[in-house]
Symmetry: D3
Subunit: 251 residues, 6 copies
């Protein structure tokens, strides 16, 4: 029997909701400090993202493509096995608060997601689609108004050069491991894959950090405070901050 790495922790939908308030940058940096240095996906950008949304959060469902072999892709796409292909299985298995993460091996020579698939993922409760490769039909994908991340755009469709070979395995995406059940956090800065057991601490740290202090530091910087004294705040500045909080009724 081969042992494959997996997530053991799971987290509640409520915690997912709280994670939405944390930015990708804060989560990435906090993970580095927690000992997880490789969680931010390089080069995976929001090609479609609703204007009125701040971030997308969900549990990773994974799908893996490799370059096609002509006989096998035919077998996969032109038969009654299509429904059982990793491609279709993963799409149809999506449930509420899932995020579909697709490993194409950084393949830039065809698109793997268009507006039809995007609509289906949205209907099933999916929160985002993340592609280590290309999407197609960008304009129509944008019209669906749903978070879709990728490295680029290509007009071709899957059977031009790929076939699907893995559903819910650990994969690579943007130079980062994505294990099924990883918590995906995505905003305008990109995407971070979070080990589920880390989410609670990230939320806590982000909250403590926190907005109050950050707001105060920015206020001070705008008044001319030096980075040397105020970022991070030295002993004196910390007292100043405490006083300011009291004076302004925070605490």
């Amino acid at each position: 029997m081969t042992y494959i790495v997996k997530n053991t922790a799971t987290i509640s939908d409520e915690l997912l909701e709280e994670l939405k308030l944390v930015s990708v940058s804060t989560a990435s940096h906090t993970l580095v400090e927690m000992g997880y240095r490789n969680a931010y996906m390089q080069g995976i950008m929001p090609l479609a993202f609703p204007d009125d949304q701040q971030s997308a959060v969900g549990r990773a469902v994974t799908l893996r493509f490799i370059p096609l072999r002509e006989d096998l892709v035919k077998q996969q796409y032109e038969s009654d096995k299509l429904e059982e292909s990793p491609h279709r299985t993963s799409l149809e298995s999506m449930t509420k608060n899932d995020v579909l993460v697709i490993d194409t091996g950084s393949h830039m020579e065809t698109g793997v997601i268009g507006d039809i698939f995007t609509r289906r993922v949205r209907y099933l409760g999916g929160q985002a689609i993340i592609v280590d490769g290309c999407i197609r039909d960008l304009q129509r994908v944008k019209d669906v108004n749903f978070p879709v991340y990728a490295k680029g755009v290509h007009g071709g469709a899957i059977p031009r050069s790929l076939m699907s070979v893995g559903f819910n395995e650990p994969i690579r995406c943007g130079g980062v491991s994505v294990v099924p059940g990883d918590i995906i956090l995505a905003d305008r800065d990109g995407v971070v894959a979070i080990p589920p057991q880390c989410v609670e601490e990230i939320v806590k740290i982000a909250r403590a950090h926190d907005e109050l202090e950050e707001r105060w530091i920015k206020m001070k910087l705008d008044e001319g405070a030096s980075l040397h004294t105020h970022y991070p705040p030295n002993a004196e500045a910390k007292i100043e901050f405490e006083n300011w909080k009291k004076e302004n009724g925070y605490a």
Copy 2:
């Protein structure tokens, strides 16, 4: 005598007009199915595109640059031969419904098109400019409000590093062959080069495909239909579609 590959078919302006209704993604995929697997240009993106336009269509006029040789570029740009250079010849030869396609060998170290040349191409009836390399003066090019596609932007001008050596030869652009007379279709998803003899079939397939069916599938997906049954539609779904058409007075 050396035999150079060429297009033999030509198509009417009316057919070009109909092609405008087909998306780049649909055309790319249809070409793959017709046996032309390499027609979508990789990495060539719309850097300028009119807001109120959906696509650009035209016949390819080609221009080829190579790295300059100091004595030859001087001879080309500082003499009475400038008018006869492939660079100027190609620009001035543009006529109604032409598209200028430029091969720089993916050169990213200077810009080959600015707002002056863009204005001239537009005046002569050109429909778009496609560059396998960089343009310059992006902001002013945008102000011309004309479709210009490229891989990037560079502040330099041609004599910084290139010289023109070919007019209306077969060239490479975005990893794709472009033969003079190829039909170029460009929209927000990028650019596809279509052998002229294929245009009619593409238009037909796209029309048949078609909007009606696609619209219905999207409607069904938004109602919760599964990809398994409805994309592509299985026997049952096809009957459902036929019924829907009748009920809604289509056909």
Copy 3:
């Protein structure tokens, strides 16, 4: 004693102000003609830029990062030496009309500038931040409404993979040398580093060039004039231009 290259010329704030009217494309091309062929930074794009601003201009202050060594970055970031690090020294040394230019060795694996540092640079009178690498917290950086140029975005922070090692040395950025005191001109087309002694001539050439002639040529092109006769204008066209100027009261 080792002799390091440096700028000797300096220019006035008034001249900086005039340079704002020159475009990056014009400056890049003029520099090539003046014998400086490598001044435009490749691949450094405006990730944040105020809508109502046309260009940013200032004197280069430089900062250099290299990959971290674990013991040394700890020494740099977790001690009382942080204030004296090139990183913090360069930021706090910014004065009116400076531009911070950062060499990370094209490192794409972490971000070196976020909204806090951007705010401080703006407060101190800085005019722009230029990064040969990544920034982080793109959305919040945009909210500062200040010109920030980079090659990409990464969620990580400096101690993920870099440490600072040089302040106000000659550096590399976008494939171009940047020597402290170089004049940086940045607009929507990118960034050019100008040797200070060249600014006056660039302003003069750009002014002479000039808008009037360029406006007239574009007008003629829009009326159907050929590139052959009007770009650059031949003898006849030059007379036409002179007449037009007289008729329209320009000279």
Copy 4:
């Protein structure tokens, strides 16, 4: 249940033996003509290859790595689960005439094979190791005198940046799909992955092609025959060839 593409044909050791006489170039080109255009692995070169060997042939056993997650790699390498890891399972599962093919996602930042593992593969009857990434300890690997192919060399070991996640799945290697049971043919020109059902025909075509004809053509070229008449041979040259065969007692 998810259906994963697989090989159904198997071939005998005798046929493997015959395949050794076919060159990688001939096999690659023949596969293209048989409709399999993507079988040659790009950029995977023989970093170690015995001087006295002409080619290596065997059945693909696959192994897949992804970037490590700190908690999971620890779990994999520092526990009693190491034996069950895909990494160790694949190595220990090798049997006579197997070839180990490793997908690291083109990861160039650590080495995954050194001389210890190479020795074990050789002992178990393996015929070659093919890595879409780096090996380490190049000099000692060479000393084992066994065919090892990779994209490069890195001094680091697996736990620097990778963890193993798949054993005998379809993988990507050198831009090509490798399905367990694929027949790997490797010589000084690189590596080709052959669908098992194609081997017999390739051997037949290569034999027919064949050495005799190729030897004769080279002889004719060395005597001054033109490509136009002799490559491929036209009607007249074919008669010439038949005569030559008779005269030299070959038929």
Copy 5:
């Protein structure tokens, strides 16, 4: 009529012979000093080169490939037009002291030269083959014992992805322009394309430079002379050199 850049000067076989004594490095650097900064081909390496040969020299004959279009490549390779294709025309047009230079657009996805074509070029008096792309059948090409330069190796043949479109046009190779009639100089350091009118001066400068002085400088360095005084030689060292020449009977 379109004016295409061309070489006007021609040089004798005797001068070619003398050029063989100049190294690629010396020629490259001398050309930069003569105002031709871009003559050395980047990344084009000797994949086959006779052990007993020092350099290869000849006049450029050019050939250009672009990505294939399925109907056109069929027309080119499966008809009586094959002989007239640029591919075959260029090969058969080779005469004594020619060098075949091939532009594939840096295409790394198939090989364009194998041992058959190499033999023909050698027979016709060709001196080398230079490919901006891949060759195939590396081992057999090596067996021909003829200088062949390329960027890499691929098992595929031309009709896998390319078709020929230009014979004796100006092309790009290794980031450098190659105009028919350019003088190609190739040794173990790579390849340089020399404008014919520059050859005489290069030979003269290289001879003057020269071996005698260089030999003396190396001798002095091996005795401990400093670069400061002896490379380039200062006034004192020049006198020392003159004396040494007299003492050793060189002048």
Copy 6:
């Protein structure tokens, strides 16, 4: 005052001598385990290395180049300041057991080291030259029979595109930081930069590791031992090893 990171530890020539027995792979991996994950230089290969030498070891002297600015490079190379340039200063400052490490910013467009400079470094007691970029005159450099590492070869010389700007600063090379005084270890697998305070432990670990155990494991593997039991050795195998040592008189 700006604080720049530096090495504080120094090590004896005797320890350097002992380090020569450690391989680059062992040192790289040991450093990762000691918490220094980024010490092996990616893509820096031995382009020249004496046949009879096993490794090269020495203390880093650093030199940094950036793209030239035409006025400044002239000032540097055509004046009496040449001797004081970082380029010449670093070369002439080399002493026994130094290694010259050169940061060109991965510049592949000119060569920075040829045989003259190599000879001088050797004469002064230097042990190797490491270039994050190109060398020139490869053949003559090989003839010097001295370890020279680089990313590639280019025929051009420094003033084609670079100028020197830093001597004995911390630099980047092969994606790794090199701080003056770092201990460089180089063999046929590449190069590793070792913080001086780590050398003693690396030597100790490598010795303990050690050859004896490694020799025994390889012997066992060649006899058929499984990786599961013998690599790393489990409890039973450790006893077996101890017994073998006793039986063979090793302890």
